[in-house]
Every structure is written in structure tokens, then in C-alpha cells.
């Protein structure tokens, strides 16, 4: 279980870190909380010769308002997301999801930037950020770019990030008034589990008619990346969310999902669970009681 030998680099500024990353390219990997990378290094799935510690870099920390948006530094830990008073109303879906990551110990180490950069299709912060229509600010030496999160993920463990690029921060726009939301994560146990299937919904209802004006639905662990269920969203928009509509939304989301079978669950089970969880998530967001579901 001993990690291969490597050189440890400890930059104290973002500029220094990006310079090191540019200098060493593919030989180097950045480390934040280490809850994914250290496990990979111990299992020899990652063998960087140089490890660049990001945890000493102040520019990557903090949760604050930036105009009307919410800015979350890449190094913000899941424990801080859980507890932040700024994550309220619609933004609170991210706090709920962060609470479901791993365990208290993992949440005291792991960061949102690491969660997204590791790009597991089951990443807990991904689906809430997708329905919130978050953008990721990516930075490399002398260059910064903003990308919508839905184009950030490219495949299991794969992102848009160049070899010399890191996530700097996440920007979340305001949530439309009259929005309801829910995040459900199905797991085999109550903690320390990857999602078998996860669902985030963010629905904006007309205050008088209660018709769904805008729907955002994201599915985790049922595709090569966390995904928006765009057909399901189109179906929900303009409709009254009665039992038939909710049931059909679940069926449409099921058709959009592309899960694989793995050691945790079969593709067939995951597909069935997409249907069940989307239905329950919509109901939960509307305040309709649902059976205890997941973790």
C-alpha cells in the first residue's frame, strides 16, 4: 500500500502553482484534500513524479457573493459547504449534497474542486451544480476561462482540464424565485458509499398556477458523466406536476440514462432506480411525503 516515491512541491500562491504545473506537465499532479488522489496513489492507479500541494494557496479558498452570483473557491471543503450560511434557499441543494459525501472525516478533507476534478460520474456535488447551472472557472498560467459545468465532464475521470490547468472556483447564478429542489442519493449503506443512482431536481413553478415554468434535472452514476436529463426537463416545462406527469417524467429520465453494470449494481437496477428516484425527487421538492430514500 505504500505510494511510489515522488517529489512534494508546496507553492504558496496560485501563480507559483500554475508555473510548476506548466513546468512539469504530465509528470505532475495537484493534490487538494487527497481523499481521491491518495487512494489512487496507494493503489498505483496514479503515479505522479511530482505532487503539487494546493492547500496553501489562499486565492482558491472562500465562499462569498460575487455580484449576484455565489462564488465557491475550488479548495472549499465539503464540511464548509454543509455548514455555510450563504448556501440558503435554492443554493442549499449543494449543502445537502455535500453532507452526503463519504463521512465526516472525508468531508473535513475533501474539496469541491477535487470532487469535480476527479470526475466520478457519481460525484455528489456534480448533479446539484448542474441543476444550478454553475460555471467552472479554469485557470492556467496567464489564462483563465469560464465553462458551463455541463461541458466540463468528458467521461469517467475525464474533464476539460488541460495538463497545466486547474479549477479555480465555481460560480453559481441566482436561483429563480418560486423554485423548489431536492437531491436524492441511493446507496448500499448510510455513509461512505458512492451513489448507485443520484438525482437532483430544481423546478421553478408559477406562483399562481403552479405550472412548472422551468425544470432542471440531473442524474448521477447512470452515464459516463453526471448528466442533465434534457428531454425530461423539456417534458416537465409548461406542465402541472400531477401524479401522471411525475410518473412519466421518471420514465423519460429512465430512457435518457445510460448506466453500466459494475460491482455496486447492475445497469437494469440503476435504470429502474432512475425512474423511482426522479419521481420521488420531484415529489420531495413539492413537499409531498416520500418513503425514506437512500442516504
Amino acid at each position: 500500500m505504500r505510494m511510489r516515491k515522488f517529489e512534494f512541491l508546496n507553492p504558496s500562491s496560485l501563480a507559483e502553482a500554475l508555473g510548476l504545473l506548466k513546468q512539469f506537465g504530465a509528470k505532475a499532479q495537484v493534490i487538494a484534500g487527497g481523499t481521491d488522489l491518495v487512494v489512487q496513489m496507494k493503489n498505483k492507479l496514479a503515479t505522479p513524479k511530482k505532487v503539487i500541494n494546493l492547500m496553501g494557496i489562499p486565492e482558491l479558498t472562500g465562499i462569498n457573493k460575487k455580484g449576484r452570483n455565489l462564488r465557491i473557491g475550488a479548495l472549499v471543503k465539503h464540511a464548509a459547504l454543509e455548514r455555510s450560511p450563504l448556501l440558503k434557499d435554492g443554493w442549499r441543494i449543494l449543502a445537502v449534497a455535500a453532507h452526503k459525501v463519504g463521512s465526516p472525516q472525508i468531508r473535513n478533507l475533501g474539496t469541491v474542486g477535487g470532487n469535480l476534478g476527479n470526475a466520478s460520474p457519481a460525484a455528489d456535488t456534480a448533479c446539484p451544480l448542474l441543476v444550478l447551472e454553475a460555471e467552472a472557472v479554469l485557470t492556467r498560467k496567464q489564462k483563465e476561462r469560464r465553462v458551463p459545468l455541463h461541458s466540463f465532464f468528458r467521461g469517467p475521470g475525464k474533464t476539460l482540464l488541460g495538463k497545466d490547468e486547474i479549477i479555480k472556483e465555481i460560480l453559481i447564478p441566482p436561483v429563480p424565485a418560486g423554485s423548489v429542489w431536492a437531491y436524492l442519493k441511493l446507496g448500499r449503506r448510510k455513509s461512505l458509499d458512492l451513489a448507485l443512482t443520484s438525482v437532483a431536481v430544481l423546478l421553478t413553478l408559477d406562483p399562481k398556477t403552479k405550472i412548472c415554468r422551468r425544470a432542471r434535472v440531473a442524474l448521477g452514476a447512470v452515464a459516463p458523466t453526471p448528466m442533465r436529463a434534457k428531454e425530461t426537463e423539456k417534458f416537465l416545462e409548461g406542465k402541472t406536476l400531477n401524479d401522471d406527469v411525475i410518473r412519466e417524467a421518471g420514465e423519460r429520465a429512465q430512457k435518457e440514462s445510460r448506466p453500466i453494470s459494475d460491482v455496486r449494481a447492475s445497469a437494469e437496477y440503476r435504470k429502474e432506480m432512475v425512474k423511482v428516484l426522479v419521481g420521488r425527487a420531484i415529489k420531495k421538492s413539492l413537499g409531498i411525503p416520500i418513503p425514506p430514500t437512500g442516504i
Partner: protein, 153 residues
């Protein structure tokens, strides 16, 4: 190649030189000689290696030793003062919350972090705070009762 590492463990300052591929758990056990903290899974999935790092419970097996530079660590050994055990340890003993004892150091530190933040936790809050500490022996019930006996003290 070795790197300088300076950290406080249970109030005592250690100035060490360690390879980059050592974890905080390695340093605690091999350099500090504090073997109360256990290696279970080595992957951050069992909590046997739980220590308080700047007062927050973490899996020491996942922290690169060099990332703990300049920080404060509390291990289970740091809970006893002048030979007297902590009330948390006392409660575990009197409630029969220890069988093989392997999970106990990690459990006790997670409990300390919980009670320091929330002195009167409800049962669900206790179970959630201990969700990162696995026990194969007790079935958790007596551990929860031990913590409940401390709530509000």
C-alpha cells in the same frame, strides 16, 4: 528525498524529516511512537485511523504527512491527562462500548469532536457523527448509549 516536517501532536512539538510518500498515520505511529491510532483499510473507508487535525476529525491514512506541516494533531493518547482518562473513555468502558477495541481510538476522537461542537446531540446526530467509524463487534448500540450518557454534561 526527505523533507522537514514540524507539527504538534498532543501538545508536543515534533521536528522531523520524512519522505514525501509518508502519510500522517505513518508519522504518528512510526516517528511519534503513538500506536493508539490504527491502520484499518488504509483508504479512508473505516475510520480506524481517525485523529483530530486542527480539531477536526480526519482519516490520517489519507493526509500526506507534509500536508500536516504546522498543524495540531490530537490522538487518543492525548485524551488522558496526568494518567486520568477522559470522560468519553470512561463512558465507553462503563457502557460496554468496547469489545476488541480496534475501532475505539477513532470512535472516541470522533465523539470528542462531536461533543465539542454539539454538547447535547440527539441520537441521529450521534449516529451521523460516527458514520465514518466502523465497528465490526458491537453493533454500535452501546457506543451510542455511551455518547448519550455524556450529552449535556
Amino acid at each position: 528525498m526527505r523533507y522537514p516536517l514540524k507539527l504538534k501532536v498532543n501538545g508536543e512539538v515534533y521536528e522531523l524529516e520524512v519522505p514525501a510518500n509518508w502519510t500522517l498515520l505513518d508519522v504518528i505511529r512510526e516517528k511519534c511512537g503513538l500506536t493508539g491510532t490504527k491502520q484499518g483499510c488504509g483508504n479512508g473507508e473505516c475510520g480506524a485511523c481517525t485523529v483530530l487535525l486542527d480539531e477536526e476529525p480526519v482519516n490520517a491514512c489519507l493526509v500526506l504527512a507534509l500536508q500536516a506541516n504546522g498543524k495540531n494533531v490530537l490522538t487518543v493518547e492525548g485524551l488522558s491527562k496526568d494518567g486520568a482518562i477522559d470522560p468519553i473513555q470512561e463512558a465507553f468502558i462503563t457502557h460496554g462500548a468496547i469489545q476488541c477495541g480496534f475501532c475505539t481510538p477513532g470512535m472516541v476522537l470522533s465523539v470528542k469532536a462531536l461533543l465539542d461542537r454539539n454538547p447535547k446531540p440527539k441520537e441521529l446526530e450521534i449516529r451521523e457523527a460516527l458514520a465514518g467509524n466502523f465497528c465490526r463487534c458491537t453493533g454500535y448500540q452501546k457506543i451510542v448509549e455511551a455518547v448519550q450518557s455524556l450529552a449535556g454534561k
